[in-house]
């Protein structure tokens, strides 16, 4: 074993993240125009309920079969044409973000557990010295959500903050950094 090296500390994305991080195809975890896509839209709010206009949302998820295009998935990497699994959306002046993706399938947990379909989310913003991490779960997955090893550890009120709401062309998922309905964030 080599001696562990100290990790490089995090710093804020600052107020000018918009010049460096957004990509034209950022929101498209699933390529534009591909079949079966859903939009997940939401807004990022601060502790005063004001929209955060200088934030960035990133998402990472399995495909509809619960597979990842990654060699560390012990089932093997599995690519799906048109699907990147990753999306990145800056927030606009009203704090709005959006991602276009496929709903993920269930994913193995530990020791035979099955995790409900979920999307991992990173939140970056001016005023945040490190990212925060949350998850998006799906409202129609009642049984899977109840059995999910992460979600089942949360109180009912906490769960409500990480389960998306149905919308016309997908889902709605707002993120509240602080306050009465503060989103559940995870120690990762």
């Amino acid at each position: 074993m080599s001696t562990p090296h100290g990790t490089t500390p995090s710093q804020t994305v600052g107020p000018y993240l918009h010049i460096g991080l957004p990509w034209p195809d950022g929101p498209f975890a699933l390529a534009e125009g591909a079949e079966g896509g859903v939009w997940i839209r939401g807004r990022l709010y601060d502790g005063a309920g004001a929209p955060v206009p200088d934030g960035l949302i990133e998402t990472w998820q399995a495909d509809p079969d619960g597979r990842f295009d990654h060699p560390d998935d012990p089932r093997g990497a599995k690519a799906r044409p048109g699907f990147r699994g990753f999306a990145r959306s800056e927030t606009d002046a009203e704090g709005r973000f959006e991602i276009h993706t496929l709903k993920p399938g269930p994913v193995p947990g530990a020791g035979g557990d099955v995790q409900a379909p979920h999307i991992d989310v990173s939140v970056f913003a001016r005023g945040m010295l490190n990212r925060t991490v949350t998850r998006i779960y799906f409202p129609e997955e009642t049984a899977a959500n109840a059995a999910d090893p992460v979600l089942s550890k949360l109180s009912e009120a906490e769960r409500a903050t990480v389960v998306a709401r149905p919308a016309e062309d997908g889902y709605r998922f707002d993120i509240r950094l602080q306050g009465e309905d503060e989103t559940v964030f995870f120690d990762i």
Binding site: Q11, Y16, W60, D65, D120
Partner: protein, 247 residues
């Protein structure tokens, strides 16, 4: 090998080290904008399962020809001191992180960003955008050519100035390794009053954000050089054990 995602036979690989003590707290009054933007409730432990130990491996098709040379993105050269910024991306176990996307953005030589929100009285440079990206090579090396950014004032506290810095964004190989940070220059006299710098609890960890002046790699009659190595989280040394079943 089962392809049934519900089979649960796939044992996730070891998780990554939780290195929270290295990073600034989200609640840091010295940086005023944290006040309304930090969670007040406790964070819930997220085990490092498949979604967390995997991550986007992308970038091969995202890199344009001049993306790693910020001095060649316009018809003319930008103003300022030309510099080479290079280094290695490794994980906490010392292993290089190959073929990973590195993104940077920065102010121009006078300290002004090409951003509609930056209006302090310092001219924009028509020949400088301040945005770069590259992939690390098979040994984790990255290299940019750019100009040395200037310091700039901001309104966090009385007579507040940000030390010169370059923003870096890194993916690593796993969602848990994602890192956005800033690189600083050695001997900057502005560190003492900078809340970003001071928010890092451990002084040794702060120093890890400072590049090393690298005379050996200067390009004679062309550019000075700085070397900055980046360390992403390493793996936990023990095999993952279920934290979620451990009530």
């Amino acid at each position: 090998m089962s392809t049934d995602p519900g089979a649960g036979e796939a044992v996730p690989p070891a998780g990554y080290l939780r290195d929270h003590e290295v990073h600034p707290p989200l609640d840091y009054p010295g940086y005023r904008s944290t006040a309304l933007r930090h969670p007040k409730r406790r964070l819930h432990l997220l085990p490092h399962l498949l979604t967390e130990v995997t991550g986007p491996l992308l970038g091969e098709d995202r890199i344009g020809e001049t993306d790693n040379d910020l001095t060649r993105q316009h018809p003319e050269e930008p103003q300022g001191q030309r510099i080479i910024v290079h280094g290695r991306v490794r994980d906490g176990d010392g292993r290089p992180v190959p073929r990973t996307l590195v993104e940077i953005w920065q102010a121009n030589a006078g300290g002004r960003y090409r951003h509609t929100g930056d209006n302090w009285p310092c001219p924009l440079d028509p020949n400088f955008t301040g945005v770069g990206r590259t992939l690390t090579d098979d040994q984790g090396h990255y290299r940019f050519v750019t100009i040395r950014p200037g310091a700039y004032p901001w309104k966090n506290h009385d007579n507040a100035w940000r030390p010169a810095h370059i923003h870096f964004s890194l993916f690593g190989r796993a969602f848990t390794q994602r890192l956005v940070t800033q690189m600083y220059f050695p001997g900057d006299p502005l560190f003492f009053q900078d809340p970003m710098w001071n928010s890092i609890p451990d002084e040794k960890a702060r120093e890890r954000l400072v590049a090393r002046f690298d005379y050996a790699n200067t390009a004679p009659e062309w550019a000075l050089a700085y070397e900055w190595d980046i360390v992403l989280r390493g793996r936990e040394s023990t095999v993952f054990e279920s934290e979620v079943d451990d009530d």
